[in-house]
């Protein structure tokens, strides 16, 4: 039972990571990051079967932070889109020397 849940969350996490690495659309990358977060959430919930309620409480924290992150991230993406009229990250090379 717990093994199935862990395998599923591992699959989800790898898909998320892969998406962040290969996709260029900022929205998709953002969705993939959410996927990673939720894969981790699934792991927490699965382990709470063995180690008590702590894992489930942690999930709430993660969801709170993810919500805040989504708000800030989307705001940044929107302001970038307004400026460049694109959300393809290949066009943004500001984070360099």
């Amino acid at each position: 039972m717990i093994t199935d849940a862990l395998v599923l969350s591992a699959f989800l996490f790898v898909i998320g990571t892969f998406g962040v690495l290969v996709r260029r659309n900022a929205i998709i990358m953002f969705l993939c990051i959410e996927l990673q977060l939720n894969a981790v959430n699934l792991t927490f919930v699965a382990f709470s079967q063995l180690h008590g309620i702590d894992g489930q409480i942690f999930v709430f924290f993660v969801m709170t932070v993810a919500a805040a992150e989504a708000a800030v991230g989307l705001a940044i993406i929107i302001s970038i889109f307004r400026h460049y009229e694109t959300v393809n990250v290949d066009n943004f090379k500001l984070l360099r020397w």
């Binding site: 260029r24 943004f92 090379k93 984070l95 360099r96 020397w97």
Partner: protein
């Protein structure tokens, strides 16, 4: 500063120990007056310099000859010699009081504590005793005459106020040197006079050669100063104090006669003395020092500063008496210097160079005197030398002044100091001629002039010391004695040569120029006359007992007066000497007593003067522009034994090469290379690493992922 200025000036300090009968009269003022003169003249000089700079800046024509201006000429003329006259008068008052007081112990006047660290303290204190009194009289008296002479000599110089400022400052430091009651205070004066010497040698600093001569004097003196410092350190570790009175009182208890410590102390002191007093091997700066104005040569490089080394040895007589090896070194170096410098003087053509080497030679005699334990004889020769050598230099100054005016009148660029361009000046400058002849016979050692008594006493004391019952190296001292006699004859020769070339024979200045030659103004010849009187009678203050018996008609007043006067200073050293060496000899190693040899050397000097007069007079001297290079041995003497070249090769060039190596290879190469290398490495590494910073989000994400995987991998396996 605990004592107020008023207290220094008018109360004679806080304490006056041992002044039972002798009450010092304003001793602080003697020192402060020249300092005051320096401040006032210095302000005038600064004002003059600022005004000149303003003229240049605004593009106006700079009038270099501002001699007529009251602020740049009249005021310094009054202040400079004025403070000297006042200081001399106060010194005379003190001398008169001390004369009547029969002072046994030195009077130390403490003003305030200069520095105090732990158990060590140095007071700003003046010491008045018979030795410092003699030196003060020479410094202020001869100094005053030279200041007066300078008024005439420097009249047309644009740096007139600056000149008197330096001159006053020099006198201040010289007085600190001779009046200071401890070695550190003496060292302050010692360094101060060195500074003033540097400033005045390079007085015409826009001339590269003259500025370099100043630097040479300064640097060579540093070598000697190191010796002075090391000797002070030794003294401090031995005695815990550096004041004269406790050191000399405790010397016999703390130091072993002939021991290594006292020998080291005295040898290091002598290294300092050899630097300051231009002895072998550190004499080379003095002839170059002639680049300064001639009155400076008279004051600093003949009469006062260069004798500071002799004063140092005489002041430390107790220490030197305890160190026979060091004393023998002093006498040996002195006698060798006397001979060596005399040979060089034989072939010099620059009138000031002849006098410079003559000074080195005479300083050698003084060191012979203090080296053979005849401290009063050394000081005696110091005093008479101050008279006749100052006179010779001032006379040379008058001649140069006249020659300079003559060449200036025809816009000729001939050398005004070269004796080959002179000749026959006797009829143009009779007063200078007469006074300089007096000085010449005085330095040549002819009765009854000053040098006869002082030089003869030194020579005789050398023989007497070598023949003492337990004399350490009798053969060595006999050699010293013979060399000293020979050098005395050389002195008579080169001085006569100088006089003949300058004043006698046909004039070689040039037909046009000769008309412009004239006698110096009264302000210049008056000091000459005063010094001529001193050079004539100065020797009579110390006629030795033996001589007095044979030279009839002399009252008891003159019987070794200076020796008696200095007795409280020298008696301890003489006692040490008598205990360890026994009585001095009554006859020379090859027979004959003091009187015989005095008469003999006097007659020999007279004969040499006469022979030299005829010999040089018969020589055909041609003007410098037509002269040819001498050959053979004369060439070696003409080139001063190539000592400067030797030093250049052995010391200066290797030093320069080492410095250049340290600069180019060690500093610029290794040290700078390392420091810059660190910087370049950091920049290079940064440049390479910055390549990874592409700005592409996915690359960053990839690198982060790889990093996480690596860390995970490492932590798991």
């Amino acid at each position: 500063m605990h004592a107020s200025l008023a207290a220094i000036l008018f109360q004679g300090g806080q304490e006056a120990a041992g002044a039972a009968h002798f009450e010092p009269f304003l001793p602080g003022l003697i020192v402060l007056l020249p300092l005051l003169g320096f401040v006032l003249n210095g302000m005038l000089a600064l004002r003059h310099a600022i005004a000149s700079a303003k003229v240049v800046r605004t593009g106006g024509e700079l009038d270099l000859n501002e001699g007529g201006r009251p602020s740049t000429h009249t005021l310094p003329s009054l202040i400079g010699p004025g403070v000297m006259l006042l200081a001399f008068v106060i010194t005379l008052v003190n001398f008169a009081r001390m004369f009547g007081a029969h002072l046994e112990e030195p009077v130390v006047i403490t003003y305030w504590t200069w520095m105090s660290t732990g158990t060590f303290a140095v007071d700003a204190a003046l010491q008045l005793d018979q030795l410092s009194m003699i030196m003060m009289l020479i410094v202020t008296g001869v100094g005053f005459l030279i200041h007066v002479f300078s008024v005439g000599y420097m009249k047309d110089d644009s740096g007139y106020p600056r000149y008197f400022a330096y001159l006053n400052l020099f006198i201040f430091f010289m007085l600190v040197l001779v009046m200071g009651a401890s070695y550190p205070l003496m060292f302050v004066g010692w360094e101060g006079v060195g500074l003033c010497s540097y400033l005045l040698i390079g007085f015409w600093f826009s001339d590269r050669e003259k500025a370099d001569a100043g630097k040479k004097a300064f640097i060579v003196n540093r070598i000697g100063d190191l010796g002075f410092l090391v000797a002070m350190f030794f003294l401090f570790t031995t005695f815990g104090t550096l004041d004269f009175v406790p050191i000399f009182a405790g010397a016999e208890g703390a130091l072993v006669y002939g021991g290594g410590l006292v020998t080291a102390i005295t040898l290091f002191f002598f290294l300092g003395a050899a630097g300051k007093s231009a002895q072998l091997p550190l004499y080379v700066w003095l002839p170059d020092a002639m680049a300064g104005p001639t009155p400076v040569s008279a004051l600093i490089h003949a009469a006062t500063m260069v004798t500071a080394g002799v004063y140092l040895v005489a002041r430390s007589s107790v220490l030197f008496a305890l160190a026979p090896v060091a004393s023998a070194t002093v006498a040996g170096v002195g006698v060798l210097t006397a001979l060596f410098a005399a040979t060089i003087a034989l072939k010099q053509n620059d009138i000031k160079k002849v006098l410079a080497y003559s000074t080195v030679s005479q300083l050698g005699y003084m060191f012979v005197g203090v080296g053979v334990g005849a401290y009063s004889a050394g000081i005696f020769h110091l005093m008479t030398h101050a008279f006749f050598k100052a006179l010779l230099f001032l006379g040379a100054g008058a001649v140069i002044h006249s020659m300079h005016v003559a060449y200036h009148s025809t816009h000729s660029h001939e050398d005004a100091q070269d004796m080959r361009n002179m000749g026959g000046l006797k009829k143009h400058m009779p007063i200078t001629w007469a006074t300089m002849w007096i000085a010449t016979v005085a330095i040549a050692g002819i009765w009854p002039f000053a040098g006869f008594f002082s030089k003869d006493e030194i020579i005789w004391q050398t023989a007497a010391f070598g023949g003492a019952a337990n004399a350490p190296y009798p053969a060595l001292y006999m050699m010293f004695w013979l060399i000293a006699l020979a050098a005395a004859l050389l002195t008579a020769f080169y001085m006569t040569r100088m006089m003949v070339m300058t004043f006698h024979g046909e004039n070689r200045t040039g037909a046009e120029e000769e008309k412009a030659l004239q006698e110096a103004p009264p302000v210049m010849w008056a000091p000459l006359a005063a010094l001529a009187v001193l050079a004539t009678v100065g020797g009579w203050v110390n006629v030795s007992e033996h001589l007095r018996e044979t030279l009839l008609g002399l009252g008891p007043l003159t019987s070794g007066w200076l020796h008696e006067w200095l007795h409280p200073i020298t008696e301890q050293a003489e006692h040490i000497q008598e205990v360890n060496l026994g009585a001095l000899a009554e006859a020379s190693p090859i027979g004959g007593g003091e009187v015989v040899w005095a008469v003999l050397s006097g007659l020999a000097a007279l004969a040499v003067v006469a022979a030299s007069f005829r010999f040089v007079g018969a020589q055909k001297v041609v003007p410098a522009s037509e002269d040819v290079e001498p050959t053979g041995f004369a060439k070696v003497l003409y080139n001063k034994w190539y000592v400067d070249e030797f030093y250049d090769r052995i010391i200066v060039q290797p030093l320069l090469a080492t410095s250049r190596f340290c600069w180019k290879v060690i500093d610029a190469g290794i040290i700078d290379g390392f420091v810059n290398g660190v910087g370049w490495t950091a920049r290079g590494v940064g440049f390479v690493i910055s390549m990874f910073q592409t700005g592409t989000l996915n690359t960053y994400a990839f690198i982060i992922t790889v990093g996480v995987l690596v860390i995970l991998g490492v932590s798991i396996f």
